[in-house]
Each structure stands twice: as C-alpha cells, then as structure tokens.
C-alpha cells in the first residue's frame, strides 16, 4: 500500500510537469496573423467606351478581369466586341467581331499587405472571329489617260474570318479608392494565324487592331476596375524566419 501511494505520487508529479510544459507552448501571440486577400478584379476599357460615344465610325466594348493566383501571378483575360468602319484613301470597310484574350500577368511591384497595385508584364493568347464588309474601293491607276478611276461601291461581305495572335502586355494598375483601380496597358501583338478573305485582306482585326501588312500589331487600353474579394488566407511566417527565433 505504501508503495502504491508513492507510485501514485510520482505519477502525478510527472503528469503535472507535462501539463505545465504544455501550457508554456500555448502562449498566445499578441500580433494579429497576416492575411492576404484573393479575389476577382473586374473592369472595363474606358478608351473603347469613350470612342464609342465620340467616334461615329466606332462601337466597341472591352471587359477586363484578373484573378490573383499567387502573390506575384495573376490570371488575366479580356473579352470584347468591336464594330469599326475604316475610311482609307482607296478603301472603306467595316469590321465586326468578337475577341477573347487570356493569359497571365506577372506583378513586379512590391505591395504593402492587402494592396493589389501592379506594375506588370504579361502574355495573352488572343482569338478573334469577325466579318468584313467592303463598302467602297477605288482601283489604283498610275496612268490616268482615261481619267482618274472612280470610287466603286462594293458591299461585298466576307463572313467567317478569324485570327489568333500572341500579345505581350506591359502596364500599371493603381488603387484610387478602396477596391477601385485604374490602369492602362500597352500591347504588342504578333499574328499566329489569319484567315483572310479571297480578294481582300484583314486590314483590321477586332482586339488585334490595325494590321500592318506583316504579323505585327499594337494596342493599348485604359481601364477602371473593381476588386471583389473572395477569400483570405493567413500568411505563415517563412521557415527560415521561424528558425531564427
């Protein structure tokens, strides 16, 4: 009996010391854990929107969006529709079509926590389907013995045209008020495929903009967008930092 009491006593002692140790580990950190917000940023291209109202030969809308994948990487896409009439010296044509560009952005800007400002570069793959209508044209005649060639009315419509291209993007996005961002980006395009009509050419491609005879193209947009937070993650201190403590 004496021995059993002794055993109980020592057992209790061990238990208490274990409990005490456990209590020491449970100390609460007084600094709140860091959280990172993730979400969808949706916006519209103001440049195309304003041209729709100021230019009578242009109607266009482009919606833009990006989604934060990691602290530096964003999924990004633009979707749009354009209806543009080009009046050149010898040609007048109307291009109508829809396009989508998808890719990613890499943010090179070191943000304060919770902010999503960007100075970024990115890549897009663009696809456009469209139609072209040749309204009027004139025949080039360098020897006008019989008088200059008149402008001829055509009205020929070329349907089912398409183009695909790669786009290199560089731009900025800055928060002006809580969750509202303005940004602009510059784009250089390189055509991959271009299905052209017989006896005419794709002189304008929705999303790609004007073509220059070769594969090269350029564009830019000026956007206003709203950040919709979807979820938060708690940032864990990095392994190396934890070891130092």
């Amino acid at each position: 009996m004496k021995y059993i009491l002794k055993l109980n006593y020592s057992f209790l002692l061990v238990l208490l010391s274990v409990l005490g140790q456990a209590q020491e580990v449970k100390k609460v950190d007084s600094i709140k854990p860091k959280t990172e917000r993730y979400g969808l940023r949706l916006g519209v291209d103001l440049f195309k929107l304003s041209r729709t109202f100021t230019e009578k030969d242009y109607r266009g809308l482009e919606l833009v969006g990006d989604f934060k994948l990691t602290r530096k990487h964003y999924l990004a896409a633009e979707i749009g529709n354009e209806n543009k009439t080009v009046d050149d010296a010898r040609l007048n044509f109307t291009t109508k079509g829809t396009y989508i560009k998808a890719g990613f952005d890499y943010n090179a800007y070191q943000n304060w926590l919770g902010m999503h400002n960007m100075i970024y570069v990115g890549l897009r793959y663009g696809v456009s389907t469209f139609s072209q209508t040749l309204n009027t044209f004139s025949v080039y005649n360098p020897h006008p013995y019989f008088g200059a060639s008149p402008t001829l009315v055509s009205g020929d419509k070329y349907d089912g045209l398409s183009a695909q291209w790669i786009e290199v993007v560089a731009g900025v996005k800055a928060e002006i008020v809580q969750n509202l961002y303005v940004g602009f980006s510059l784009r250089l395009n390189n055509l991959i495929t271009n299905k052209t009509p017989e006896n005419f050419d794709n002189l304008y491609i929705p999303g790609f903009n004007r073509t220059y005879g070769g594969k090269f193209g350029a564009g830019f947009n000026y956007t206003i967008s709203y950040f919709v937070p979807i979820f938060k993650t708690t940032l864990k201190p990095k392994e190396s930092e934890a070891k130092k403590k």
């Binding site: 010898r90 040609l91 004139s138 025949v139 005649n141 050419d201 002189l203 350029a218």
Partner: protein, 177 residues
Amino acid sequence: MKKIVLLLVVVFSFLGCEKDDICDANTPTTPRLVIEFYDNNAPLATTKAVTKLKAVADGMNGVGVVFNTTATDDSKYLSNDKKIYLPLRAGVDEFSTTYSLTLNSGVVGSENTDKVTFTYSHYNVFVSRACGYKTLFDLTNTNTNILTADSNNWIKDISINKANLESENEVHIKIKL
C-alpha cells in the same frame, strides 16, 4: 511617373502612323497593254524600233498617250521605241478600247494610221491598303480581229503573245512592221 510619360509617348507615336501610307510606285498595279515591235523582213524574230509613233484612243479628241514624260512639247506623244504601253479602258461597262496608231506622225507625206481594237473582260484584284485594287484584263480578241484592214497597213502582222494581262513585265501583243 517618368515611365508613364514614356509609355504615353510610345502610344501616341503609334497613333501617328495611321494615315501616312502611300502606294509604292514599284508595286504592280493596273497594267497597261504592252506591245512589242518586230521586223517583218528579218527571218528570225528581231525587235525593231518604230519612228514617231503616236497612239490616240477613240473618244480622246486626238490627245495621244504620253510616251516621253520628260519632253514638254508635242514630242511627248511620240515613241521611237521597240515597246509601247497602252492604257485600256476599265470602266464598269467598258470592254474594248480602239487605238489609232500613227507611224511617222507629223511627217508630211509619210504619215500612216492603222486602227487596232482590243476587246477584253476585266476584273479587280486586291493589292494592299495603300494601293487599293488593281484591274487585270483577259483579251478576248483573236489574232485576226484586232487590226482594221485598210489599203495601206503599216502593221504587217499582229498577234497575241499573252492574253491575260497581269503585269507590265510581259509582252501581250507582237506587231510586225
């Protein structure tokens, strides 16, 4: 801020490019009819230069095709070459052009005018943004119905060398004199 200004400069330099493309003179556009002259007396095909040839299309009130762009007087309408280039009418409903070809034009006593009529169909082919379209022709003549026979033709023989006119780097009609 400097980066933004730089980007804006780049953007506006691109916008400035819109309107300033012009059709390069070396681009093949609407071709003229190319006629080459041959010596009728030579046993082998030998090119021969014409003398003071003037070409006037019907309905042009005697105004000839300019052959010599550097001359300022009436000699600009005269060709002393082995090859001449004649524009063809290409209106929507125009499918023939008649030319009066006058040899030794202006030389009293030796002027000789022959009439040739070219009939053809034509169609428009896209060239480029700057050049627009060009008109190409398909001659529908036969060798025997080009020349209007008269009592003293200086054209001894006329034949179609290439019936589809695509450029001016080819000979479409051969005339022997």
